[in-house]
């Protein structure tokens, strides 16, 4: 047992033009980054210089021009397996997370894509399982309707088990060497039993990959999602804004994992976090404000989710009418740059009061004194509400360590609001501070993503000594 302090895990949620809806308008942003693989590789190498555990490629299975308002970086981009394999070719150590949806794929395809990516990347492949929260995807896959969550998870549960069996279908060492007459040993390559949803004979058309099982990630708060994650995932993403619910979720997942015979350390909980960091607090707040200044506000009569470009974007309208609803107090009719009087806080509902706290935490502006909260701040807080931290390197590291030390996080999936600036500044300013505190690696401890997460390489369940080893463990 090592005496080293518990170590943070960091990932980069990779949207080429930034995770902020207006990140692409930042002066240094590359507005056409989504299709510039050389640039995407360059940014990934910045994260790799920062010793990040992984780069994360999300996915959606439907799009609409209206997404340009809320999620321009998600509207149109490279398919994640293609992007992931290309990023693997341009990097050497960072884990590569590819999102793939069991609702719209077959297990054989997914098993071989990840096995292949794991071989090509020398053990850095990872599957982020999403079951399809996006109802519009059904329209692109010949489905009459969006499946219910139960139906999706019924399929996903058996899907994941089948994929793992396929990954195991070639035992380690089943490949022969050229000095043998046979290139493989049929006795160590196995077929699968048919399941309820799937009938997959196997074996996979590839030998066991470097990690044995590529790393599995999952996100979600529903009962079925928590169960899938606790049973099958090596890491779980969350998106809590406040620490109390994050702690409750963390404890719940770890408890469920133990019920599946796993240890708490077998599963890492990684909340998302948008860090805005600069050498000084004032500079960081200025960046935050400038990013938000690029947001187009909606007319006062725009209805939630129906912005100026269409109706698919899920984000709330950016106007005082929406802010009034969210804060529970009528703030319509005011100029955006006017100061909000303290009475508005008194009149706000609980969510609204929490949001006032968030505005102050992020902008350092208050209802009284020097820097004052404006109505513009209310519109932005009501429409763009993500877990974020704004500050100098010590302040950002404090926030991270607070969650890390208090049962809310084993690490973070970092959302770079603007690219490459937010990646570079985090690596340059915050990473050294975390390393100084002894809670973050100064170098990779091994070549594979499982190594980064401190996970052992699993044996094939078809290996002769598999059951015996499980009993001993």
């Amino acid at each position: 047992m090592t005496t080293q302090k518990r170590q943070l895990h960091l990932g980069l949620m990779f949207w080429g033009t930034g995770t902020h809806p207006s990140g692409w308008r930042w002066p240094d942003a590359k507005a056409d980054a989504a299709y510039d693989i050389d640039y995407l590789q360059k940014v990934t190498r910045i994260a790799e210089q920062g010793k990040f555990d992984f780069v994360f490629l999300g996915d959606k299975l439907a799009t609409d021009p209206s997404l340009q308002r809320s999620n321009p970086a998600q509207m149109s981009r490279l398919e994640p397996f293609v992007a992931g394999a290309s990023l693997a070719a341009g990097t050497s150590q960072i884990g590569i997370v590819v999102t793939a949806n069991p609702t719209y794929y077959d297990p054989y395809t997914i098993a071989r894509f990840f096995a292949s990516l794991d071989h090509l990347s020398k053990g850095r492949a990872s599957w982020n399982i999403v079951t399809g929260a996006d109802p519009d995807a059904a329209g692109n896959f010949s489905r009459d309707e969006h499946w219910t969550a139960d139906r999706r998870y019924d399929r996903a549960d058996e899907f994941v088990a089948t994929v793992k069996d396929l990954w195991d279908s070639w035992e380690d060492g089943a490949r022969g060497a050229a000095e043998n007459e046979a290139a493989f040993d049929p006795a160590r390559i196995h077929r699968l039993e048919p399941g309820t949803v799937f009938s997959v004979a196997g074996p996979l058309d590839a030998p066991r990959s470097p990690q044995g099982h590529p790393v599995i990630l999952h996100a979600g708060t529903s009962e079925r999602s928590r169960e899938l994650g606790a049973r099958d995932a090596d890491a779980i993403f969350t998106s809590h804004v406040f620490i109390e619910p994050a702690r409750a979720y963390y404890a719940d997942i770890k408890a469920r994992a133990r019920r599946y015979g796993r240890s708490a350390e077998d599963i890492a909980i990684l909340p998302s976090l948008t860090p805005i960091v600069a050498p000084s607090t004032e500079e960081a707040v200025a960046i935050f404000d400038r990013l938000n200044s690029f947001l187009a506000f909606d007319p006062e009569d725009a209805i939630d989710g129906q912005g100026v470009f269409g109706n698919r974007g899920s984000a709330r309208s950016r106007n005082l009418a929406t802010a009034s609803k969210v804060f529970g107090v009528d703030v319509t009719g005011h100029a955006h740059d006017d100061f909000v009087p303290p009475g508005t806080y008194e009149a706000a509902n609980d969510d609204g009061r929490r949001l006032f706290g968030e505005i102050t935490r992020l902008t350092r502006r208050r209802l009284e004194g020097g820097a004052r909260i404006t109505y513009r701040d209310l519109v932005i807080a009501a429409s763009v509400h993500v877990p974020a931290v704004v500050g100098n390197p010590v302040e950002v590291a404090d926030h991270i360590q607070h969650w890390f030390d208090n049962g809310a996080a084993d690490g973070f999936n970092l959302f770079p609001a603007y690219v490459p600036g937010a990646v570079q500044s985090f690596v340059d300013l915050v990473v050294p501070e975390l390393q100084r505190r002894g809670i973050y690696r100064t170098d990779y401890s091994g070549p594979t993503f499982r190594d980064h997460l401190g996970l052992p390489r699993p044996a094939s369940r078809f290996a002769p000594d598999y059951t015996e080893k499980r009993k001993q463990a």
């Binding site: 692409w24 799009t63 290309s86």
Partner: protein, 377 residues
């Protein structure tokens, strides 16, 4: 009989263990398909030889029937392999085989369009179907007759072509000053309602750099010929003789004409394993050594010195029996290197092969025409 256009198209078929069943056991063999550095080295050899494309084939099943012949049992997946190679190469075309019987068209459209972006317009898709590459047992399906697989392929290719077109080339505005990112009028749903698929669109990937990827098909049946005549830019064939090749190419050109296509837009590529050495005797000795280990190289095999092999290529071209060749290597990487070092210079001397790439895209190098957007009036 229409003569072949010169120079010929020369592509490479990557077979992880070589085309000879015992190629991987040859003393000359130095290739581990699961060592990515070996894979990259082979692709770069093909690129240095200025070959038109590097094709990654696929089967979707592990055929374990012959442990001595591993090429049918195992391979890396084509899209991930080609995407990885995209960054490790810069000029050579990258063809992936993908089977329309076992993929959703929306996923295939995303994968292929994205491959064209990361290769900067060097991607091609060899369409296969469950008719000749059955994988029902791994896809919870029951076997279907060939015509059903081809009916699905027809519809899949049709809707994928529309999805590739769903973003006009200038759909992106990306004006930082005004905040306009895209022009919604230039992003089109496809609203496809067919026998097999209902797909609304648009695709969530920008229009590929080549607009439409190069489409290939390996013909093994009448259904395959009809499909190729409708859709394929390059057709892979395995005739047993020059005469068979002549007939097959003529048939394909006529069928393409009957589909309203320019017959020169369908390029008939003959699969061939050239076993090259400095002399005919050495080459024959090589083959004898491989055969002694077990098996024979399948399909068309030509064994000999550069002159011998180039003469065969020339005869096929003169007879109008091929628009090009898909090179298979009996032993990796030795026989690819031998082809590049011995045979290609001779082919170039005879005007049969290019000495450099003409264009940045695969479509350009193949001399294929640009394609207008079918969703724009």
């Amino acid at each position: 009989m229409s003569a072949s256009k010169l120079p010929l198209i020369i592509g490479y078929l990557y077979e992880p263990y070589g085309s000879h069943p015992s190629g991987w056991r040859s003393p000359q063999s130095a290739h581990d398909p699961y060592d990515v550095d070996d894979l990259v080295a082979v692709a770069r050899l093909a690129e240095d030889a200025k070959l038109d494309f590097f094709a990654v084939e696929d089967r979707l099943v592990a055929d374990m029937s012959d442990p001595a012949s591993p090429s049918r049992a195992t391979r890396t997946e084509p899209f991930t392999t080609a995407s990885f190679l995209a960054t490790k190469t810069s000029r050579i075309g990258l063809l992936v085989t993908a089977n329309t019987s076992y993929y959703e068209p929306y996923n295939l459209a995303r994968l292929s369009a994205s491959l064209d972006h990361v290769t900067h317009g060097r991607a091609g898709w060899t369409v296969s179907t469950g008719a000749t590459q059955p994988a029902d047992q791994n896809y919870s399906q029951s076997p279907l007759p060939a015509e059903r697989h081809y009916a699905r392929a027809d519809e899949a290719v049709d809707v994928i072509r529309k999805l590739w077109d769903s973003w006009e080339d200038d759909a992106f505005i990306r004006n930082k000053a005004t905040g306009e990112f895209v022009d919604g009028e230039k992003i089109h749903p496809v609203d496809h309602e067919g026998e097999h698929f209902r797909i609304r669109g648009p695709l969530n990937v920008a229009r590929p750099p080549q607009s439409q990827l190069i489409v290939g098909h390996a013909v093994e049946s009448g259904e395959g010929e009809a499909f190729a005549a409708r859709e394929a830019d390059v057709v892979f064939v395995t005739p047993g003789s020059i005469e068979e090749g002549q007939t097959l190419r003529q048939q394909l050109r006529e069928k393409a004409s009957a589909e309203g296509r320019d017959p020169d837009s369908i390029r008939v590529i003959v699969e061939i394993t050239p076993v090259a050495a400095a002399t005919d005797a050495e080459a024959n000795h090589l083959v004898a050594g491989l055969d002694a280990l077990g098996g024979h190289a399948p399909g068309l095999v030509v064994v000999g010195s550069a002159e011998t092999i180039a003469a065969v290529f020339a005869a096929w071209a003169e007879a109008g029996a091929a628009d090009g060749f898909l090179i298979r290597s009996a032993v990796l990487p030795a026989q690819l290197r031998a082809f590049a070092e011995f045979v290609l210079p001779e082919l170039r001397n005879r005007g049969l092969a290019r000495s450099d790439y003409d264009a940045p895209t695969l479509r350009g190098n193949l001399g294929a025409s640009p394609i207008p957007n079918r969703l724009v009036a």
